[in-house]
Amino acid sequence: MSWRARLGRCIYRGWEWGAFGGAVTERKTWAQSRFSRERSARGGGKSVGRQRWWARRWASEASEVPSAAALAAPATTSAVQEAAARREVHFPGALLAPYTCRLAFEEATAVPIIPAYRLLDEQGTLLLSAAEAAALQHFPAAETVRRMYSTMVSLNVMDAILYAAQRQGRISFYMTTFCEEAAVVGSAAALHHDDEVFAQYREQGVLLWRGYTFQDFCDQCCGARDEPARGHQMPIHYGRRDMHFHTVSSTLATQIPHAVGAAYALKMDAAPRIAACYFGEGAASEGDFHAAMNFAATLECPVLFLCRNNGYAISTPASEQFRGDGIARRAAGYGMDALRCDGNDALAVYVAVRTARERVLRTQRPVLLEMLTYRGGHHSTSDDSSRYRSTEEIEFFMQHADPVARLRTYLAVDMQAERQAREHDRERVLEALGRAEAKPREPPLDMFTDVYAQLPPHLIRQRESLRAHLERMAARPSPSGTAEP
């Protein structure tokens, strides 16, 4: 059957859509649901019977659109049968759309706001009873919670030191995770170690959870020679193949379609793994976000989108970034399931991500999970956020929404113990930083490596020209009497 003939059949008998590769629907069920939706929209009571409803529709619409099929229907049949006999045309772009004579906007503000899932309140009190928590699938084991907490503390300590190191001129750039530790570490803990992670740039907590050491972080930030990228990228642009953590790029949202492609690869391999993709609410304004959502939904890729909605894209507040209900609400438009959770509640993040991960793996379809949080630090070391937000605002969130404090209270860790842990981490980070600074840098002639799999002739020539230049400069005495580099 030609596609044209097949389409023709679908238009007149939309319930045989399966022939066209779409979802098969039952006319009866579908008509019934349309009937009940219309009735509730009109506020009609039970007295409005099926036959009268169809009759009214018939009366109102027949004069407007006298279809040949309807006119040809025998007058003796009941209104229901007449209506059923009418051949409504349903278009391929929205095959399930019922027809209505009621002109009504789909009002954005009338769409219910998605609630944020949480298990701990601001004071660190568990909102479930012990029995409920025990019964909750995916509730983290005590050991996992303790490890999440200690990782969040370590992340906090490392961020503070490396931020200060940039201020002292020891590294060129840094980005902190202050106030977002739960969103990053909680989600990392809920993922499997071999899930492919595509990060934006503020997700060093995922690497910390997966075993990236303070030395690894410091080596990357210092551009040490024995770090995989050997100083080819700015600090915080981490990447580790053995940890399934794809290298960070500064360009926003470009990693989202990559995660979709990787997820498709995992699906083709029938691997019991997913791709997890982090991005911020600002990045979700980029075209790549839209492309990736649409590809993930239509190509049915096992990818978990993790949006850190921290309220700011550098200086632009969320209120100037989008007009809808955050990012999670957009998922429905792509035909994708979504969740929203309190991103500063590590337990909620863990449970939500574990549950979403299982769903992605089971259905082999994407899920969008939005974590509501707050960027406690500046955007980066190149930013001064006091120019666009008040210190009172920052203090408010740091005081009432600090995820580390919340988990500390929940775990009943005393402050003295945390101070000791922080001091221990501080020493280790400072040692690592000192070692990284002392490490040799990549020799300049090696910078040509990794542009291509093998050095092509023109790059060999260019490398030789650099070598010759360096030799000429070295042979030439400088005015001060020492050879110039």
Binding site: A229, G239, H246, T247, H258, G261, A262, D288, F295, P457
Partner: protein, 378 residues
Amino acid sequence: MTTLHRAWSLCRRAPNLATGMPLTLLRHPRPPDLPSRRPLHAEAAPMSPSSSDTERMNLFMAVQSAMAVALETDPKVLVFGEDVAFGGVFRCTMGLRERFGPHRVFNTPLSEQGIAGFAAGLAAMSYRPVAEIQFADYMYPAFDQVVNEIAKYRYRSGGQFHCGGLVLRAPYGAVGHGGHYHSQSPEAYFVHTAGLKVVIPRDPVTAKGLLLQSIREDDPVIFLEPKVLYRAAVAQVPRGDFTVPLGEAQVLRPGRDITLVGYGAQVQVLLEAAQRAHQEDGIDCEVIDLMTLLPWDERTVVESVRRTGRCIVSHEAPVTGGFGAEVAARIQQECFLSLECPVRRVCGYDMPFPLVHEKMYVPSAHKVIDEVRLAMNY
């Protein structure tokens, strides 16, 4: 008019379809000794196959054949893009979905940046995605993904991850009536991007060999197909596994007096110009097809120009900042003392592709011969 109709009409209305003659050859009286339905200078082509295991194909069939071999020989090869499932608007993926299944050959939503980004993710997971961009003119939405992501994936990770095996295929160039948005030659943008390889075949044989090799490369490749030749160019193409190495130019016509350098559809123009320059003026032109623009085969060109002392570079893309500028710069550096005249460029003008003036816009054989005479009389 849908894209499909537009693409079909581009093929249909091209004068070459009726006769099988390349469009460029129809602009002028047909040269007596250059039959159209024969691979050009097959005897000079080292990669030309023996006739026993070949099949008569035009360029789009050769492209399809290359992808079929790739899908057959490597389970990691995937083919996708807009309208790819039913065979593609230029029919290059015809029959592949039926043969290799809907999971390996599939449609994507209409988003070039999505296609490129999706392909990058697949390549980073050791797949070999062959993604189609419907027209090279529509590669620009994918520009960020190509330049910032695909090209740099290896370098930024220190070789841990890379996009080797990724091929972005796109039809490029003049077609007779494509106007601004169905005629562009964007190769210079991509040649300026370290980490990519840029490949342009000239006929069905090179299309198959270069595409199959591009899919097997460990670096991402931008593969531009001369759409004017999809149906016009016909040749005996090897049926099975057949590759042409990247980064190697080919001397299609040896000559003593002047070197003509080009690639893609322009090679036909240069061959025709060489033929007529020989007949009309007794000028002996050497014609070189670069085939790979990044990295390009400088050695073959330099060796030729040192012999001939004269060189013309020709491409459809606008002249300023075009690939001809790079070739000219390298020649003056490497062949300075051998040059009898400045390197000349016969290229498109620095303007949007003008619909009704296409014949005047393109670097036709007339213009090439004119420049050959100027170079010889310098």
